[in-house]
């Protein structure tokens, strides 16, 4: 079904209801469901929690919109619950981490290929190579801490090799920034960026929550290190968003992004139960978009079409392995940052080099955990001694 953001009205907000049983249904199977089903679950939880995050900020800044914002957030809270509770309890926190990195890799790779702006496409590839490396470091930890093969989670879709080494991800704050997209950038560009900010935010928050749950000091160190990088990634992708967009323009774009992502999930889902959920929430999001458009028009006196164009959805994320693209992108591992620009390895900003030298001066958790690690089917213990 072709969605039109200006015409499709979706389910009215007052008919979007839940029960606790509705929110807490049967989880997916870690063993039998397709890894891309889990990728969609994690991505959409990130999208919903970011919807809540943005509205909470907006609530603090606009007296008249507080009631509709609160009403939308109640539904989104329950959507996020219904989605996130699909993860089954037999995922250890570290296994879920592997899944989070697979989301970051596969989704970013798909977005990088859809991005029409060459500079932003470069920025996606840049971030991709870092999350790709995180998967490798966490795989080493999973193997060496729990004796488990991360491919049980990634299911053969994603390579487990080093990317840009995590030890060099640590940059001075100003070197994480990017030039924002233009006000008149394509809707594709805007939805791409808003999605990635949501994804990185949830990854960061997840690592900050579960890092202290580990008893192993090496795990605690690795989570501390990679959570710091994920915080940088929030800045990296967050700075793509145009700071001159108005608050309600951002709200409308966020809702459009949610519609766009639920549409992609509904189209590509292989688990019928989840497909029905994605379709239901697609309908809910169209209802939220209606409300966001009304707020935009009421508070800004502008037509939603100024932002959403003809209302046609751009190309959607492809939930399928992006292995060839990622392997080609590995030639960009030596790339570094200087302010908002991508530069060669020998041109990296002095500030980042100094920051990193100090931060790594008592050792590098990611290098220590993964020293000599080569992913092997069945864990490195399966290698001949």
């Amino acid at each position: 079904m072709a969605i039109n953001l200006l015409q499709d009205r979706g389910m009215p907000l007052d008919r979007q209801r839940f029960t606790w049983k509705d929110m807490v249904g049967k989880p997916i199977s870690k063993l039998d469901d397709d890894a891309f089903t889990r990728v969609r679950v994690i991505l959409m939880n990130g999208v919903e929690t970011d919807a809540l995050r943005y509205k909470q900020v907006l609530l603090r800044m606009n007296r008249e919109a507080r009631v509709p914002l609160a009403q939308m957030m109640r539904v989104e809270q329950h959507q996020a619950t219904a989605v996130n509770w699909l993860l089954s309890a037999d995922h250890s926190p570290l296994e879920t981490t592997i899944a989070y990195e697979q989301v970051a890799i596969e989704v970013t790779a798909s977005i990088a290929q859809m991005e029409p702006d060459a500079y932003l496409a470069q920025a996606y590839r840049y971030g991709l190579l870092e999350d790709f490396d995180h998967l490798y470091r966490y795989s080493a930890l999973l193997d060496r801490l729990e004796g488990k093969d991360s491919n049980n989670i990634t299911q053969g879709y994603t390579d487990i090799v080093p990317g840009r080494p995590t030890i060099v991800h640590h940059r001075a704050p100003q070197d994480d920034l990017l030039e924002p997209y233009a006000r008149n950038a394509t809707l594709q560009t805007k939805l791409n960026a808003i999605t990635l900010v949501a994804g990185e935010y949830q990854t960061h928050d997840y690592y900050m929550n579960i890092g202290p749950v580990f008893s192993d000091p090496a795990a605690r160190l690795l989570y501390a290190e990679i959570a710091s990088v994920e915080s940088q990634h929030i800045t990296h992708y967050g700075s793509m968003l145009n700071p001159d967009e108005s608050p309600f323009e951002k709200l409308m774009l966020h809702e459009a992004m949610e519609v766009w992502n639920y549409q992609a999930c509904a189209e590509q889902e292989t688990n019928p139960r989840l497909k029905a959920l994605w379709e239901r929430f697609l309908d809910y999001e169209l209802g939220h978009l209606q409300l966001a458009k009304e707020l935009f028009q009421r508070f800004e006196g502008r037509d939603a079409a100024e932002v959403l164009g003809e209302g046609t959805l751009p190309s959607t994320i492809q939930f399928k392995p992006q292995r060839d693209f990622i392997r080609q992108t590995l030639v960009e591992v030596p790339m570094r940052k200087d302010g908002t620009q991508f530069v060669g390895q020998d041109q990296e900003s002095a500030a980042s080099l100094a920051y990193r030298t100090q931060l790594n001066s008592q050792g590098s958790p990611s290098d220590s955990v993964s020293g000599g690690y080569r992913w092997t089917p069945g864990t490195e213990l399966a290698q001949a001694a």
Partner: protein, 244 residues
């Protein structure tokens, strides 16, 4: 709800990704040279932190007059009463968790029976008896701790660590998706630990000169030995039946 093992679309193994299998492994080998050098960094981190670590906490000091007197007496006779108090606290915590685990196990058994997929070798009435025994053992320990002047409501260091270890079993028993046989496996591990620990506790109490307490612990051990034998039989009979 099913209780037996089924062959299905398990996607975790590499054989389920035949197109990717070769390229995935080859690419990992080709890129092995880009790994960080194989130092002993991981071991060094673990060693350094172990050397620097504080402990999880302390054994609470008996605050009652009787407890102080008893503790002092033990000290005078060359015993370290904190060891016994810590291990009794551990057993108390373990037995309390055990009660909850048996409640979860009973619920699983009753649900299976309601669906007509009960495991014939597991006797629900006997599970209830074991549950009740675990509870009475918890009460016994609380009473004995009071007799030593210790606080049975406190969490001792060993109780805390035993709780960490039990988390896996709590997850297994609480998961509506686990079968009776999978739950039995957890119960067996719980009973194995319980047996060895009661044995040790009876010995520790005897060594400290608490003869009556040691006798009560030995009696609890005898009950635990019956639990272990029962659960082990259920496990063996259930799995043999599933396998044939």
């Amino acid at each position: 709800m099913e209780n037996d093992e089924k062959i299905g679309m398990n996607r975790t193994g590499l054989d389920m990704a035949p197109m990717s299998k070769g390229p995935l492994v080859e690419f990992a080998q080709e890129n092995a040279g880009r790994a960080a050098p194989a130092t002993h960094g991981l071991e060094a981190i673990r060693r350094d932190y172990t050397l620097e670590a504080d402990r999880v906490g302390s054994v609470p000091l008996p605050l009652s007059v009787k407890g102080m007197a008893s503790t002092m007496m033990d000290k005078i006779t060359g015993n370290n009463p904190e060891v016994l108090i810590d291990k009794m606290g551990e057993r108390l915590a373990y037995e309390r968790t055990g009660v909850r685990l048996y409640e979860a196990f009973l619920l699983k058994l009753e649900a299976a029976a309601a669906e007509g997929v009960e495991e014939p070798h597991v006797d629900i009435a006997e599970v209830r008896r074991i549950h009740d025994d675990e509870r009475s053992h918890a009460l016994l320990l609380a009473q004995c701790l009071l007799e030593l002047g210790a606080d049975p409501t406190a969490m001792t260091p060993c109780a805390d660590v035993a709780g960490v270890a039990a988390q896996g079993h709590v997850q297994v028993l609480g998961d509506p998706r686990t079968t009776v046989a999978q739950a039995l496996n957890s119960m067996l591990m719980i009973e194995l630990g319980d047996n060895a620990s009661w044995q040790l506790l009876a010995e520790l109490a005897g060594e400290a000169g608490h003869t009556t307490m040691a006798e009560r612990f030995s009696s609890a051990l005898a009950t635990e030995e019956r639990h272990l034998a029962t659960v082990q039989d259920w496990m063996r009979e259930t799995m043999l039946e599933h396998a044939t």
